[in-house]
């Protein structure tokens, strides 16, 4: 009896896969129409952003007959990068998504083909793209490596009502992280807010703050003028900036003015901000949509550009953030050409505006920002985005995050330095800086030794 039951169970489970032959899966199962070249895109975009991308891809595939773009999700950003590194040339996709701060890493790798190679042959005019984006996605000699898709903007979400009540103008007062500490203290002590500030925990913000401050993270012109082989975290003006930044973090958490560093942003910080309990949230613009859908649409939200580290902050520009598209070096010119065509298409003002509207990223070019699609959206949902767009236009070319062939070690070292001082009010800031410097130096040394 038992044996029969077992047999039946095994059989029914075995029959299940055959049901799979009837199931149509999203996008992935559609066959390439005859006569078209397939273009494969490896990306880490997930959730609602992925949905928007899939809609755009469908539109592109319907609008032209030469190429057929296929989106393949490869997990998180680090999974995707790992995959790219470990894959042999012929198995590479045709294009891939990558974060802008890793441009140097992609340029130095063997799996990325510079976009410039295609631009040279085509003479594509993308001059209305915001200048800081053009710089951030090119190498030290001005050759374009990739093109932005998600134009992320690092800054501080502020609850304007709280600031009005406190009589503080965030756009004037929040110039550095030390200011953030000062204001967070006032907010909490004078009971304007339950929590003074929360941070999106990512090592990117260290380099962003240093860039706004106006100091280099590594030697060799921040990596743009030759091979960087030493971190500058413990030297000169950079050291002073690092110290000021870490000191601000430590004081904020020692005083209890912030939501614990590392708290899940989507699950806990965003709802708290939307409910009006949090005065400031240092994050990127892509959180905006989530704030709105969590009930924050009734709030008056401002977005202040990323602050520097200390009162010596130059604050003359903005570091670029977000994700772009790069072409992969898989030796297949026909499908690479398709990838290039698709990247150009996505950069067209109407398409870029649609993407910005559906995701909350800023548009990548001023032309896209000027479209009716985006203007209507902005005026209705996020009028203060105008400040961000203006700031982008005014940005200078010097404010850049470092250009390095190593990616994750840098971010990890940065993140760890913040975690150390945020979680322990007595942790020596000098020690945290020394640790970070040593990690970055080791990574650079190993890379230079082996390549």
């Amino acid at each position: 009896m038992k044996k029969i039951a077992l047999l039946l169970m095994v059989l029914s489970v075995a029959v299940m896969p055959f049901a799979a032959f009837g199931q149509a899966a999203p996008a992935a199962k559609v066959a390439v129409p005859a006569g078209r070249t397939e273009v494969i895109w490896w990306s880490n975009f997930s959730g609602s952003m992925q949905k928007s991308l899939l809609t755009m891809i469908e539109k592109y595939n319907a609008e032209q007959k030469k190429y057929f773009v296929r989106f393949e999700f490869q997990g998180g950003a680090s999974d995707l990068m790992a995959k790219l590194q470990a894959t042999g040339q012929s198995a590479l996709p045709d294009m891939f998504s990558g974060a802008v701060e890793h441009t140097g890493f992609f340029a130095a790798s063997s799996f990325c083909k510079p976009l410039q190679d295609f631009i040279d042959k085509d003479k594509w005019d993308y001059s209305t793209t915001y200048p800081h984006l053009i710089t951030a996605y090119s190498d030290g000699e001005g050759r374009q490596m990739g093109y932005p898709v998600g134009n992320s903007f690092a800054g501080i979400y502020v609850n304007m009502d709280m600031f009005k009540k406190a009589g503080i103008d965030p756009y004037k007062e929040l110039k550095s992280l030390q200011d953030v500490y000062r204001v967070a203290k006032i907010m909490v002590e004078k009971k304007y807010a339950k929590y003074g500030v929360a941070f999106h925990n990512n090592g990117y913000y260290v380099n962003a703050a240093l860039a706004v401050e106006g100091v280099d993270s590594v030697n060799a012109g921040n990596g743009y003028k030759g091979r960087a082989d030493a971190s500058l975290y413990d030297k000169g003006a950079t050291y002073k900036a690092m110290y000021s930044m870490l000191d601000a973090y430590q004081k904020i958490y020692a005083g209890g003015y912030g939501i614990p560093y590392g708290t899940d942003c989507n699950g806990e910080v965003v709802p708290k901000f939307a409910k009006g309990e949090l005065a400031m949230f240092v994050g990127v613009i892509s959180f905006h949509n989530r704030i709105l859908t969590s009930g924050g649409d009734k709030l008056d939200i401002g977005m202040v550009p990323m602050p520097g580290c200390s009162e010596n902050s130059r604050s003359t520009g903005l570091p670029a953030g977000g994700t772009g598209s790069f072409i992969a070096n898989n030796g297949k010119p026909a499908s690479q050409a398709g990838a290039y065509d698709f990247i150009k298409w996505m950069a067209e003002p109407e398409q870029a505006a649609y993407w910005a509207v559906s995701t909350g990223y800023l548009p990548v070019s001023s032309k896209a920002a000027a479209t009716e699609t985006y203007q209507t959206f902005m005026n209705r949902v996020f009028p203060r985005a105008k400040y961000c767009l203006d700031a982008q236009m005014k940005g200078d070319k010097i404010t850049k995050t470092p250009y390095l062939p190593i990616a994750n070690e840098l971010l990890k070292a940065n993140l760890l330095s913040i975690e150390r001082v945020a979680n322990d009010p007595k942790y020596s800031i000098d020690k945290a800086i020394k640790e970070a410097t040593a990690s970055v130096n080791e990574a650079l040394e190993l890379y230079n030794l082996a390549n």
Partner: protein
Amino acid sequence: MTIQKQKKIFLSALSFTLKVALGLLFISPLIICVLFSFQPEELIGKTPPTFFTNRPTLDHYRWVFQNISVLSYMKNSLVVCFITITCQVFFASLAAYAFAFFEFPGKSLLFTLILASMMIPGDIVIITNYAQIQKWGMTDKYIGLVLPHLISGTAIFLMRQCYMTLPKDIKSAATIDGCGDIGFLFRIAMPLSIPSVASLSIYLFILIYNQYFWPLLVTNKDTMRTIQIGMAMLVSSERLEYGPLLAGAATCILPVVIIFIFGQDYIVKGMTAGSVKG
């Protein structure tokens, strides 16, 4: 019925209930997963939590099945399991037969080599194996998914234990009757080892079905992914809603739990074969 007997029955009923209650508490995460996967999203996040909602919904399951090719992943997992189990049983039987019924120079050396392989953790060799599979162009194919796992020390060990319990006289008798070595293997030894094969199969099924890292490396195309990867991608993407996450987890666990419940005896036999002496 004497009072003694009544007391005894009461105590054993009590003990039984307590033990079952403890068991249910122990697997409560699984129960919670299933219960909450049927709740509308707004209820899932609320405190105090509602366990039995009066508005159960299949929305999350619908979302999972529409957005994640669950059945396709399941198919891949099951195909991989089937191929791996068949090969492991077959190769292990061959090897075990050699060790159990033959004497040959180098026998103990080879057996030690195989035992030693069991100590090399898979994670050390995984990167090189991935590079190799890539070089041979086997990524995104079933062969790439299964090749490094077509034999394991555990399988050989288990089958050898089984063959060693077969009396040697059977072989001698069969040989006298004119049955060759190979004939003996296929016609007599293998059929006699079916219980061990069953244990091994179920044990291997759980192991292979639950593999995560290797399929992650070897598959790029969505069509080739296994159920664990599909599940993990749900976890690593924006963690906004827990409903689909729980529904996905429940779907993923279901086949294994069913097989476990019904095959528990075999699993126990399979897992304990090596450790119980005598």
